[in-house]
Every structure is written in C-alpha cells, then in structure tokens.
C-alpha cells in the first residue's frame, strides 16, 4: 500500500475534510505546490484557489479561501476561512457574490473595506474557477 498523508481541512464552521490521501496539491503563497508523504515540515500561507486531493486514484477538487498550511511528514493541516468541494459549489451564488464585490469596489471605500471586499472577490473567483474548469 502506498504511503498516505492525513489531510485535515478546518474552517470556522467546523472540520470540512479529514481523510488519508496519497497526495495533495495546494495553492500556496509561493505558487501551486504538491505535497507527498514524508514531506519536510513546512508552514506557509494558503491563497484563494484550487486544492486537489488525490485519493485511491480519484481526485477531489476543493475551492479554498485564504489561510494557513502546516505540513509534517504524515499530515497536512489546512486552516482556512473557506473550503468547498467542487460538487457543492453553488455557481449562481458565487457569481452573484463576485458581481456584488466588483460593484462594491467601484464605490469609495476605506482601506479596510477594500481589503475585505477583495477577500470576498477572491473567494468567489476561486469557487467559479473550480466549478467552471470541472465542466469543460
């Protein structure tokens, strides 16, 4: 049996995913990175994008928000404000959120508001990207 990694994805609403996988691809702050078992311990930031968990020959696609990644030899722990598997993304809702965020950006906002709107824009874009890529 191939070595496995324990992949844990936790959001403020609870644990989204906790299973053994063979490999995981993550959108890190330094680019997309693939993690195999026995990786060197690593801590880095997660950016909104697409995460792919490879388990028993199948791939699970997950849209992520920003957060933190902790990698040890046997485990990958991900702490993020958003994690939705591709099949549970509501495309219409994400599209609506994207438009709302873009409309908000055209208004006059304080720095803090801009940061929070940019955050939600990135989150909805990540969801749309994952969803639309899967279909074609």
């Amino acid at each position: 049996m191939a070595a496995t990694l324990k992949l844990e994805i936790v959001t403020p609403a609870g644990t989204v995913y906790a299973e053994d996988v063979e490999m995981v691809t993550l959108p890190g702050v330094a680019g997309q990175m693939g993690i195999y078992p026995r990786h060197v311990p690593l801590m880095t930031q997660l950016v909104p994008g697409e995460m792919i968990a490879h388990k028993e020959g199948r791939d699970l696609f997950i849209a992520t928000g920003e957060g933190l990644i902790e990698v040890t030899a046997r485990r990958v722990a991900i702490l993020t404000d958003l994690a939705i598997p591709a099949d549970r993304i509501d495309e219409a809702k994400a599209e609506e959120a994207r438009q709302r965020a873009e409309a908000r950006l055209r208004e006059k906002l304080s720095d803090e508001e801009i940061a929070s709107v940019n955050g939600s824009l990135a989150r909805s874009l990540a969801q749309l990207r994952v969803k639309r890529r899967r279909r074609v």
């Binding site: 844990e8 936790v10 959001t11 403020p12 609403a13 609870g14 644990t15 890190g28 702050v29 330094a30 060197v40 311990p41 690593l42 801590m43 880095t44 930031q45 957060g67 933190l68 902790e70 040890t72 722990a77 702490l79 929070s116």
Partner: protein
C-alpha cells in the same frame, strides 16, 4: 422557550468552532517553538505597569448571577493602572458606574459575527503595540455546559504560553516536543507569523464572544426556568388559598340558610 432555542444556536456555534480553535492553537505553538530566534513585537513580554482588560458582559439582564460573578472578577484589578475595553452594554454600564477608566466600548449581536471580533482585537493590539499598555487580559464567561458557566481571566497579549485557558482536545506538550525537526517557512517566518498572529487574535476574540454568548443564553434559560417554576409554585399556593376561602364562604352561607330555615319552623 425563546431562550431555549437561542441557547441551542449559541451552543452549537461555540462547539462547531472548537476544531478551528484547536488547530490554530497548535499551529501557533509550532510556529513559536520553531522560530525561537525571531522576536515578534506581539510576543514581547514587558514589565507590567499598565494593563488593559477586555470585559465581555451581556446586553440585557435577566440572566441570573452571570454578570455579577463576572464583575466581581473584574473588580480585583487596580483602577489606577487598568484600562477597560468593554463588549456588551452591561459591562460598559458597570465600568461607568464604578468610575473606572473606559478606553472603548464595543457591542456584539446575539449571534456574534467574525466582523464584530476584528475591531476589538485590532484595538487591543494597537494599545499594546503603541506601548500604552504592557499586558492585555480578557475577562469573560467560559461556557462549560448549560448549568455551569465559569467567569475567567485569560491572557491575550503578549502572545505566550496560554496558561489560563484549557482548550479541550488540545494535544499535550509531549506531542509537540517530539516534533523538534526544522520547520521550513515560506516565504519567511516573519510573514507567516504576522499572518498567523493577526488571525490568531481575531479568532481568539471571536471564540471568547461565542462562549460568552452561549453562557449568557444558557444562564438566561436557567434563570427563566427558575422564574417559571417559582411562578408555577406561587400559582399553586394561591389557587389552594382561593379554594379554601371559597369553600369557607359556601359553608358559612349554607349554615346561615340552614339556621334561617330552623328559625322559621
């Protein structure tokens, strides 16, 4: 039974954020133990001359002894050197009434939102970083279960070993010590830690809020239940009294009628 349903919502919210809190706590510990030569301003321990206390009270009363227990704990801090930051109307009223120094007043809704935690954390962090205070403590009620809520003091800043707070399910020290190899930080320990700490403080405040709210709703439900029970007892006593009086009157009238009848015969 409004209190009961509010209580359930608040308790669920508290319990569902626990895994997140645990993981964040673990990451924070890994990060600080593996980057020892790096001193972040938020980690700096200074001699405590002035401190700030963030006091989490409730907005409304009718929740038993919850607030008075909490305020008794807040009283122990020296008013001359302590600055108070309050969340919840009752807490602000208490500080004003006892003539302590109030630095800022915040509110949070019945179902606390993350956006309400951020300004509190940011305010406390700024006070600490500017050197206005050397320590920030949180005084709030910890939710244990429906019947038990515990007022407690926990350290907020500087970020150090958290001693006052036991996170259920958090791994023991041995687990982290076994993992002493080098940890790689990308891009750098500074950026990762800065991000982690920013998040950590916000989440910390958010969790305290959720716990305070769950405690408040539980205490209120218990207080309301007690009120309902004693009202029911009162009604029972009064009904008995009423029936006694009524029966006495009827007996008296019957006797009068019977007496009158006898006199006629």
């Amino acid at each position: 039974m409004v209190a009961a349903s509010k209580m359930r919502t608040a308790q669920e919210a508290t319990l569902s954020t626990r895994p997140f809190g645990q993981l964040l706590y673990r990451m924070r510990r890994t990060a600080t133990t593996h980057a020892p030569d790096f001193i972040h301003p938020l980690l700096a321990t200074r001699a405590v001359r002035r401190r700030a206390v963030i006091l989490f009270g409730t907005d409304k009363g009718l929740c038993g002894a919850l607030n008075s227990n909490l305020f008794r704990l807040a009283m122990q801090f020296d008013p001359a050197t302590t600055l108070f930051i309050t969340a919840g109307k009752r807490a602000a009223q208490f500080i004003a009434r006892t003539g302590r120094r109030l630095a800022a007043e915040f509110t949070f809704a019945d179902s606390p939102r993350f956006a309400e935690a951020r300004p509190i954390a940011a305010f406390a962090r700024d006070l600490f970083l500017k050197g206005d205070v050397d320590q920030v403590l949180i005084v709030a009620t910890r939710f244990i279960n429906t019947l038990i809520q515990q007022p407690s003091v926990v350290e907020f800043l500087p970020i150090g070993e958290i001693t006052g707070l036991k996170i259920p399910g958090a791994e023991s020290d041995g687990d982290v010590a076994a993992d002493t190899g080098e940890v790689l930080f990308e891009f750098s320990a500074e950026t990762v830690l800065a991000y982690l700490f920013g998040h950590y403080l916000n989440i910390y405040v958010y969790r305290v809020m959720l716990e305070a709210k769950a405690s408040e709703q539980s205490a209120r439900m218990v207080a309301m239940q007690n009120a309902t029970d004693s009202a029911a007892g009162l009604i029972k006593d009064l009904t008995l009294e009423y029936n006694n009086v009524r029966q006495t009157n009827i007996t008296k009238e019957l006797l009068e009628i019977a007496g009158g009848q006898l006199g006629n015969d």
